[in-house]
Amino acid sequence: MSAPIAAVNDFVVKFANVNGSGSASANGLFVKAILRMGVPVSARNIFPSNIQGLPTWYEIRVSGHGWLGRRGGVDLMVAMNPQTWDRDVGEIEPGGYLFYDSTKPMPADRFRADINIVGIPLTALCNAAYVEPSKRKVLKNIIYLGALTYLLGIERGVVEALLAEEYASKPALIPANIEALQIGFDHARAELKPLGLQLRRSDKVGKRIFVDGNTAAGLGAVYGGATVCAWYPITPSTSLAEAFISYCKKLRHDSETGEARYAIVQAEDEIASIGIVTGAGWNGARAFTCTSGPGISLMQEFIGLSYFAEIPAVIFDVQRGGPSTGMPTRTQQSDILSAAYASHGDTKHVLLLPEGPNECFEFGALAFDLADRLQTMIFVMLDLDMGMNEWLIDPFDWDHDRVLDRGKVMTAEMLEAGADFGRYKDVDGDGIPYRTLPATHPSKGSYFTRGTSRDPYARYSEEGAVYVDNMERLLRKFDTAKTIVPAPIVRNAPRKTSYGVIYYGSTSPAMDEALAQLEAEGLAVDALRIRAFPFAGEIFDFIAAHDLVFVVEQNRDAQLRALLINEGGVDPARLVKVLNYDGSPITARFIKAELAKGMDMAKPRAGEMVR
């Protein structure tokens, strides 16, 4: 028997539940209670593509230090699902705890000798207290919440206050829930001792908010001035559209007439979604769709039209495990290449790579300015981990003096003043032409938009030289994009080092922790977080300044690394792949181990030439 793990405000709890059993609400309360005690938490829902019956997990990391990535390993398993018992028990760290329903005796060989067993006769307690099946199902979860409240030292008053808030609209349910909480609490107090894992009130949460990236991006679209949303339901992006709908209902109705300052269409498929977005963008509205990998595949033809006909549009791609239907409820960063080079012919697209809900909000708004400014498709690349899990982040912030950048739109006044309007003419040398919106002027500024080749005045042309001129201008426009997309963020190690690491997206929290761990062990690595494609020059400067650069990604084929090699002509030998793509979010333990191993292997051995 290993010594029981003892820790205050620093441990991992995993709930193993059955999908559709009503556990999500109890687990959510558990997390919120810890946050209300001022202790930072990150929570990740690991769920199946199913409504009822399949296994689902909720992994909670309590970190008084504020590390919000996945740590790896489980200190307390709340094993509520017999289907996954063996696997769940196996995951517990030596000296960890197994909390289970002891109503039915379990054979001794189903346990482990090196962990602490905490049994509570949940079903028996629940059935003794409640007769109705629906109550038995739901309140059983609250009973285990009550028991955990005692065992982990959660303040009971905090949980009771949360229950009252949760059911504020259905107050009749409050007493029953408080009672269930008490049943679990009292039983645990009478029969068990508090665990070695304990929570203590702290002040580490502050003003931070707890929110998922899809909600943040939906809100970003509202602040970014989006008025048209066309979408098709697909996990894990659905809640982004739903957040936009919900915030629009609150924030975008005319206070006098009640009329909507937005239009949302649930389209028949992803092709129609992006078609509607393209039409709206062509006609001067800020429009977006949200989807995931399979949707991006369907939208390819329109993405090329947007690129070539230069129509502003925004796609939020909440990435999941591919290819094909893949792992629709698991996270990956595996659409990087398919988005960057989407569609047939020579195309390249702007990608924004948010690291979490704050940047989902920020980039969610910025994407519309960039789309109008660059007159092209802008991808905002979320993933399931940041999109569907609630993260503890700084409050949303918005500069209220900010003006929406509508880009180069030629007005009737400019046309009247004699402007020489050529829809695809590069007047400023930045590769970005002016556009007119339909009905701008009775006799000037109309043009015919087409996906076929044309001259700077939008006149159909199949002449090779005219085509090439236009394609070269599109490259100049892409160069301009480099200067206005979010710049990379560099974090240098305390001392000079020849090692670098490049990462992006939801890897951030785990990377923050891994870098601190490496530093504590005296290993120095400079880090650069990429926030957009096309790549700024300083990304290649960073690579050039280091002998070896790890590229940490959550996909199999090292897609961002491939993009770096292709776009920057980087020697592949200098870029070391560090890949986590099993569908669960990357952990600090994994990153630290891979980087430490890589640095060790790269060390000059006796007799080797020093590099």
Binding site: R208, I209, F210, V211, Y223, G225, T227, V228, A230, Y247, K250, L251, R252, G258, E259, A260, R261, Y262, A263, V265, A267, E268, I271, A272, G275, I276, V277, T278, G279, A280, G281, W282, N283, G284, A285, A287, E301, F302, L305, P395, F396, W398, H400, R402, V403, L404, T436, L437, P438, A439, T440, P442, S446, Y447, F448, T449, R450, G451, T452, Y460
Partner: protein, 351 residues
């Protein structure tokens, strides 16, 4: 597709409409379709219709998919913005354009391959959403640009130019549009401008999804014996149910019509549709009746033309969405970006 502009010169006696525009002001570039193509007659009918309803050319947006018919928006309304989109996907693009600015008139031009084959889904959903538009399918039953393959509207048993007999059932877009909830449904023939022009006028002024299926024989690939989309076949089997006159405002002149032979329908914008009955007992406001009539006529081998159905009280997608009266693309930052206080409240709710 052409860059050849027509000369602007015109005869001084050319009639002007109420806006002072002549018919020439509604024309576009020189057509590059085959000489004698039915589609060019439809373009001419669109020009005529827009001229007659005193439309400001720039207040219309013309959208199309891909194919011979979808090229035609370049050949009319040169002062309008046009958008030659993606094969089969014009309906979604038009829907988005309409959402962005509800104040313009939207004209969708498509073909039978574009709307009934690759684009059948988008056709259906645009109709059922009630997008405010006039949607014209220039229907010749054949792929012209790729030289003569059957499209989905080709009738079963119809013979291709190469002698192949079509074994698939033909799709009747008019029947579909009716079933899907289009609120203005008509069929016409490119060779009958007198019938077609008033239908286009009425469709442009209709609020809601207006659909016109125009049989438009392909003289290059589908005008032979054995085809059911040839000039001869359509002329022989054309059974018009009514003749339409569109009166603007309230100046309907009734005197010249026989009592009982006239149906009068006032559309949402005040335009009055005067329908001279040809088929007895045909009521174009009877939805179920129209569907039944079409099925029976189809079984009898007739091609029913005319204004087949109209719902003058129709609502459109904007009504359903409750959007503001002003175009969404004209809203200011203040109307779109919520306040600082709103964000504080949102943050507070997430703690």
């Amino acid at each position: 597709m052409t860059y050849i502009a027509k000369p602007e010169f015109h005869h001084p006696s050319l009639k002007a409409n109420a806006l002072g525009f002549t018919r020439r002001d509604y024309e576009g570039k020189v057509s590059t379709l085959c000489a004698g193509c039915g589609h060019d007659s439809i373009s001419a009918a669109i020009v005529q219709a827009c001229f007659e309803i005193d439309l400001e050319p720039h207040r219309l947006a013309k959208l199309s998919g891909i194919g011979c018919s979808s090229k035609t928006p370049d050949y009319f309304l040169g002062a309008s913005h046009g958008f030659n989109t993606v094969h089969g996907r014009m309906p979604s693009v038009l829907t988005g354009a309409n959402l962005a600015n509800r104040d313009l008139i939207y004209l969708g031009v498509s073909g039978d391959g574009d709307s009934a084959s690759i684009g059948l889904g988008q056709f259906a959903h645009a109709m059922r959403r009630g997008v405010n538009m006039a949607y014209i399918v220039e229907n010749n039953g054949v792929y012209g640009l790729t030289k003569g393959q059957f499209s989905a509207t080709a009738d079963k048993g119809s013979k291709s130019k190469k002698g192949v007999v079509n074994s698939d059932s033909g799709i009747d877009l008019v029947g579909l549009a009716l079933q899907l909830g289009a609120t203005f449904v008509a069929r016409s023939f490119s060779g009958d401008k007198e019938q077609l022009v008033p239908l286009i006028k009425a469709a442009l002024r209709h609020k809601g999804a207006a659909f016109i299926d125009v049989l438009s024989p392909c003289i290059a690939f589908n005008n032979h014996k054995g085809s059911t989309k040839s000039f001869d076949w359509v002329r022989e089997h054309n059974e018009a149910v009514n003749r339409l006159d569109v009166m603007q405002g309230r100046m309907a002149v009734r005197a010249k019509y026989e009592p009982g032979s006239l149906t009068e329908v006032t559309q949402h914008d005040g335009s009055v549709l005067l329908l001279r009955k040809i088929a007895e007992d045909y009521d174009p406001t009877d939805h179920v009746g129209a569907i039944n009539y079409l099925q029976q006529a189809h079984a009898a081998g007739e091609i029913v033309t005319g204004l087949l159905y109209v719902d003058p009280e129709a609502e459109d997608l904007h009504d359903a969405l409750g959007t503001v009266k002003r175009p969404l693309n004209a809203l200011s930052d203040d109307e779109l970006v919520p306040s600082a206080a709103a964000l504080d409240k949102i943050n507070a709710a997430l703690r």
